[in-house]
């Protein structure tokens, strides 16, 4: 759970970095998208790096989901008779929404791939320029698409907030009160950075800052 989770953290940060290229203009963004496919050439074939990344990510998704469902199942059988009254003491909302939040993210990832990778659904434009597809998609008349992305980013932020801290704990990095505070801080910071960093793009398009 922790190891696969940390792979996603690395991926998400790289992905965000790429997204922010949108502010450098269409050429820069499209160039970046194209370059990803040529990355590592000629040692790797065209799109080779991308496929390696994709395979790693798919394996990580499988591993992450498998562990998650296993934990979910264990929790379900560990307490078959539920409490009729239950009051939460100290846990964060993020920690308690990891499971459904995770399912939400999984659904979103499928949608996101269909939208911008496979181009199966093409709200706004099916241009060959990723930049154009993106800008066309997040226009105000397609507010619902912006909303889907923003909801997903909130879910991602929350997932990271608990996930990063929890990964540190699971990997045994948090053996003192101070290190626990640091791990928590890391979780919160990453959550905010990633959620805001990604959200900047659709919001900027929505408000016409990027066009």
């Amino acid at each position: 759970m922790a190891v696969t989770g940390l792979i996603f953290v690395g991926y998400v940060l790289a992905h965000m970095y790429g997204n922010l290229k949108v502010f450098a203009g269409q050429d820069s963004f499209d160039e970046y998208a194209h370059h990803l496919r040529e990355f590592g050439e000629p040692i790797l074939p065209y799109e080779g790096f991308l496929w390696i990344a994709r395979v790693v990510l798919i394996l990580a998704v499988i591993g992450h989901a498998y562990s998650a469902f296993k934990l979910w199942h264990r929790a379900a059988v560990a307490r078959k008779e539920k409490y009729s009254a239950r009051r939460v003491a100290k846990s964060t909302l993020s920690s308690r929404t990891m499971r459904w939040g995770g399912v939400t993210l999984l659904a979103f990832i499928v949608f996101h791939i269909l939208h911008l990778t496979t181009r199966t659904i093409t709200p706004g434009s099916n241009s060959d320029s990723p930049y154009e597809r993106l800008v066309a998609g997040f226009q105000p008349e397609r507010w619902w698409l912006v909303l889907i992305y923003l909801v997903a980013l909130v879910a991602l932020g929350m997932h990271l907030r608990h996930g990063v801290w929890s990964a540190c704990q699971t990997l045994g990095f948090t053996n003192t009160a101070a290190s626990r505070r640091r791990a928590n801080l890391a979780g919160i910071s990453l959550a905010v950075i990633v959620a805001v960093g990604f959200a900047l793009v659709p919001i900027s398009v929505l408000f016409g800052i990027v066009d």
Partner: protein
């Protein structure tokens, strides 16, 4: 004060249970929570209804025998054991729901009493230092840095009450397990068996049917001895080390 009590009644582990409602009057705020239940039981005996079975022994917060869910919180609203909870934490007219610890590894024996034998079986799998009586060296033979001794003590205060399991949304006993691993792992005497201890105890924990830890932290909030969450990190670290050593 006057209270409405909704209490889980279940004749034995095989039978079905239900919440039953009772009224109790004239409860003083200096009464402890369990003395309030004593009062209820006197009242029930008077009306020929079998008293509510609940566990308690030392009633000074150290033996770990007592423990019930009070309005959905393990040991109730204060950071203490059920026996040390006093009625001054409640108000006149309150409705209080009282349920047993709920975990399949802790089957209900009757009413509010559960079987926590799983904890003993976890300890049996390595929660000790193997030293036969009489074979110990002089107590001053090995100095233990105060920092380690203090941490060992802080986590050795675990009373094995099971509140961590009761409060955990996953039904995990990782806090209990981590406390013992950390206690013995901090001491020089505990090093020889450190790897096998963690591996075997975790295996028994899982075998008993406790859930897995997702680091939510409800356990440590419910712990009357305030065992910190870092014992679970220590547990994971020790487990990782043991795996690296090929166990």
């Amino acid at each position: 004060m006057r209270l409405t009590l909704k209490i889980w009644r279940q004749p034995n582990s095989a039978a079905a249970g239900e919440l039953r409602t009772y009224q109790l009057d004239d409860v003083s705020e200096d009464t402890s929570f369990l003395e309030m239940l004593d009062m209820l039981n006197e009242q029930l005996t008077g009306t020929d209804e079998e008293p509510v079975a609940f566990d308690s022994d030392c009633r000074e917060g150290i033996c770990g025998t007592c423990g019930v869910m009070i309005n959905g919180q393990a040991h109730g609203p204060e950071v203490t054991t059920t026996c040390q909870l006093h009625m001054r934490s409640f108000s006149d007219g309150d409705t209080i729901t009282i349920e047993p610890w709920r975990a399949d590894a802790f089957p209900v024996l009757r009413d509010l009493i559960v079987d926590r034998g799983a904890f003993d079986r976890i300890i049996q799998q390595g929660g000790y230092i193997s030293v036969n009586t009489g074979s110990a060296p002089d107590a001053h033979a090995t100095a233990v840095p105060k920092k380690n001794a203090d941490r060992a003590f802080d986590v050795a205060t675990c009373i094995g009450c099971g509140a961590c399991v009761a409060a955990c949304p996953n039904g995990s006993a990782s806090l209990f397990l981590g406390a013992k691993i950390t206690h013995l792992g901090e001491l020089p005497q505990g090093q020889a068996e450190r790897d096998t201890r963690v591996v075997n105890m975790v295996a028994q924990h899982d075998h008993e049917g406790f859930g897995g830890c997702t680091n939510i932290g409800e356990c440590t909030a419910a712990c009357p001895k305030e065992i910190p969450l870092d014992v679970i990190s220590q547990l994971n670290k020790d487990l990782r080390t043991a795996m690296r050593h090929g166990l």
